[in-house]
Amino acid sequence: MRNGDDFRFAAIPPIINSLFDDIEHRILSPLSCLREFDNHWMLEFDLPLVSKKDIKVTFDEDTINVEAKLNEKYSEKQIGNVTKFEYFKKSLSLPGKIDNKKTTAKFQKGRLVIKIPKKVIGHHVKIS
């Protein structure tokens, strides 16, 4: 921690990048979380520095792809090199059959929330 004029945090973020940012193409990997409910999945992406109009969400069978352009370049220094990131991008495989047509999304406070209904496949069991 240093007490210079610029505000800096005393806490140190890990140097090792476990999120696999694509430095060559200036793409950040966003945090995401998937929660399972009885009838649907709730998938969230943390997309700070992004506007709704710059987000693209696509499905490819059981995979969901999210891409977003940052409002401004985000600079990060890693082991002496400064990279100016311009995009978020992530693809996730969903653990089950999904109903693409009923999927909805909303974007609030830099968080993209996608509600994905589960596809019901199977046969009724007659109860005697």
Partner: protein, 240 residues
């Protein structure tokens, strides 16, 4: 109801570590910076995997102690699993004994029940009724029902058996994403409790960048917390 006046002059320890929303990490490190606190030492935990941080050529321990006047701070840059959390709690207790600490304040986050809320709330849990007045005087809602696990629980378990009272502040936050916005609520509350003036504009201006910068620590923290939560029976959460 008789409310005892809180003495801001007695030695107080503030503790922050990675937890839900990284609320403790953001708020405690912000206070260290703004109060211009000096590092006075490092906290060693025997079983902690050897980790050192290098910042501009300076080697730093992941768990450090700071001081200014009657305020002491312990901050950890690494999350703890169940076993390390117990060791961390015992190390804090030792620190308290050596520095004549009269009370400790822990800052953490709790999952927001309704994530549409514009103004996250803050709740307080005290180990000793002597700190009830602190909640009342600062208009902090008492944490009445719920379960606690992880490092918070380890610290509470240790201190409820001692004569040093502990207050845990829980700011409502997003549990899986860094939440500097929730941390601002914690900073404002801490400033009132500690009777210090803190300008939060710096963190307000950096909210978005902090959310990007601290992604890896958040991911590591959630993975650690989920290992601790394995035995719980709530809806499984998958973090990717």
């Amino acid at each position: 109801m008789k409310i005892a006046k809180y003495n801001t002059k007695e030695n107080t320890l503030l503790v922050g570590f990675p937890s839900n929303g990284l609320v403790g990490t953001f708020s405690v490190s912000y206070l260290i910076h703004h109060l211009k606190m000096k590092q006075i030492g490092e906290i060693e935990i025997p079983d902690l995997p050897l980790t050192l941080f290098v910042e501009e050529g300076e080697i730093l321990s992941p768990i450090r102690a700071y001081n200014k006047n009657n305020l002491f701070v312990i901050i950890s840059d690494v999350p703890f699993n169940q076993y390390l959390a117990e060791e961390f709690a015992l190390a804090i207790n030792e620190f308290c004994k050596k520095n004549a600490i009269k009370k400790i304040v822990i800052v953490s986050g709790m999952e927001t029940v309704n994530q549409k809320k514009d103004n996250p709330k803050i709740y307080g849990l005290v180990t000793h009724s002597t700190l009830d007045g602190l909640l009342y005087n600062n208009q902090i809602s008492k944490f009445l029902n719920g379960s606690i696990f992880g490092t918070d629980a380890a610290i509470i378990s240790v201190f409820r058996k001692t004569n040093i009272p502990a207050l845990v502040l829980y700011a409502e936050c997003h549990p899986f994403f860094p939440d500097p916005e929730a941390s601002i609520i914690a900073i404002v509350t801490l400033a009132k409790i500690l009777d210090v003036k803190i300008d939060t504009r710096d963190i307000e201006n950096k909210i978005d960048k902090l959310r990007i910068q601290y992604r890896n620590l958040m991911k590591e923290t959630v993975q650690t917390l989920q290992q601790q939560q394995e035995k719980k029976t709530r809806t499984p959460q998958i973090y990717r």
